[in-house]
Amino acid sequence: MSAEEIYNLLKENFGNAILEIVSNVPTEPIISVEPLQINVISQFLRDSNELQFDNLMNLSGVDDNNATKTTNEDGSVSSQGGTLSVFYHLDSFSLKHKITLKTSTNRDVPEVESVTNIWYSANWHEREAFDMFGINFLNHPDLRRILMPYDWEGFPLRKDYENPEFYEGMKIPY
């Protein structure tokens, strides 16, 4: 099935949770969905007969870098708004088609539903997205940092990330 057909099928079943499809940008068409509905949508994607997406190839967080930046009186730049996105790349072994999903949530309180109970491989990918971006995955069985030390502060891959001064008494920028 092509991306448009999948989009139409999802739109029939989930209505407003499916936001839009962007297909004129290289290289793949992307379907945007609501972050808090991603679990039921994924369940449908995996279990329905026409789709059968049984393999989650990749799950990655992306900082969209679309915050509005304002320069204050003292010259410092502050940013407001902006979104963090999570991209899902799905693949089907039996029907041999692929699709890309995208959900976006705001930077201040980023919350996305977890899909670990549907595809187990999402477990560590979501932990990494939490570790690097601070996206809180609801109903994840074990959400804690994975690559950075467990008591690190800050989310490294965000565009406005700055290294903290000290970590456990050691000065960081040397």
Partner: protein
């Protein structure tokens, strides 16, 4: 009155002769039976993805080398494939052929390390040295091509960094003739050894459906009986011109999906890689390998997800471009990352000594797990 027993937590700590890198495994044990395995990673995290956002697209290539340092050519292959897909560059035929040959030689080298260290974990010291002796010959071939033995920075966006040496074709053919009997020797020494079979058959069984759900790929998935190889099922580069087979685990000496199957799939893949190299080495067309390399790599706005069949599994690159010379996001989907997350489910109910065998059969390398 029942005897009060507690579960013991044993740490196979970051420094350990048999965990393949700095990995901490927390084992929850009841005597010698494992109830749970919790891996702790991050000891080798080098912030590659954050660095990539500050580099240009071509400067990221050496960073990709260092992820899976035992299979650097394939990491390069995946990355430049992704960027070329995004920029819609068509590389010359010669470049494609050489990339395939280098990739398959690298696959053999990586599998030799995997097989050797697997035997070493189980106490068979000698096959490790025999396989490393043969791997030295492959590294010699790489050295005459690009000067490096382990981290090559060979495949660039749009072409290659150096053309192959005039002696390369002859030496590769010599290597193929030398190496074919060695696989037979390895089979006699280790693969069908009764003690080895006792240690690995029926251990760490992963049925096909569970393997797909856990996200396993590459030899781990094929060892569970799923016939899926990206070189045939989702072809990239020029793999569709070559004739080779996909070995699948069949449970020859045990159940389908045990450690022995995953090991034997790798042994058979080495032979298939030799076939591909044989076919490709005779067909290399002439041309210029650096003709298509763009002066400035500036892809259009967009995203790409490109996956290749690395020796350890499905290596995927997800690149988000915002139109500038630096990538906005490079996410590497490392195969060992997903394989290691599966060990918790695969090792339940086995003994401590089996955890080492299961870890060895998954063939992980910490460089690409931690990036």
């Amino acid at each position: 009155m029942a005897l009060k027993t507690e579960e013991m937590i044993l740490n196979m700590g970051p420094q350990h002769p048999s965990t393949h890198g700095v990995l901490r495994l927390e084992l929850v044990l009841d005597g010698e039976v494992v109830h749970d395995v919790k891996p702790h990673i991050g000891y080798l995290h080098r912030c590659m993805e954050k660095h990539s956002e500050a580099m240009t697209y071509s400067q990221v290539v050496p960073y990709t080398d260092r992820m899976d340092y035992l299979a650097s050519m394939y990491n390069n292959f995946g990355y430049v494939g992704a960027v070329e897909k995004l920029m819609d560059i068509k590389v010359p035929e010669r470049v494609e052929y050489i990339r395939v040959i280098m990739g398959e030689l690298q696959r053999i080298a990586s599998h030799l390390v995997a097989l050797g260290t697997f035997g070493l974990d189980l106490g068979a010291f000698t096959p490790f040295l025999y396989l490393f002796r043969d791997r030295e010959k492959i590294l010699d071939l790489f050295e005459i091509t690009c000067g490096a033995r382990l981290l090559y920075n060979y495949m660039w966006v749009g072409g290659l960094s150096h053309d192959i040496h005039p002696d390369f074709v002859r030496k590769t053919k010599e290597f193929i003739n030398y190496f074919r009997p060695t696989v037979v020797e390895l089979n006699n020494l280790l693969t069908f050894n009764k003690i080895f079979i006792e240690r690995t058959a029926n251990i760490g069984v992963c049925p096909a459906k569970e393997a797909i759900n856990l996200g396993l790929s590459g030899p781990n998935l094929r060892g569970s009986g799923v016939k899926f190889d990206l070189r045939k099922n989702d072809t990239y580069s020029i793999y569709d011109r070559f004739d080779f087979e996909i070995p699948v685990g069949e449970g020859l000496v045990g159940t389908v999906g045990d450690c022995w199957d995953r090991y034997y799939v790798r042994v058979q893949e080495v032979e298939q890689s030799l076939r591909i190299i044989e076919q490709a080495i005779d067909q290399i067309p002439d041309g210029d390998v650096s003709k298509e390399i763009p002066r400035r790599v500036k892809p259009p706005v967009g995203t790409v997800y490109h996956r290749v069949e690395a020796p350890k599994g499905e290596l995927g690159y997800f690149i988000v471009s915002d139109g500038s010379v630096n990538p906005a996001r490079v996410k590497v989907r490392a195969p060992s990352f997903v394989s290691l997350s599966a060990i918790g489910q695969m090792a339940k109910g086995y003994l401590v000594a089996d955890v080492v065998a299961i870890l060895g059969s998954l063939d992980i390398v910490l460089g690409e797990i931690d990036r």
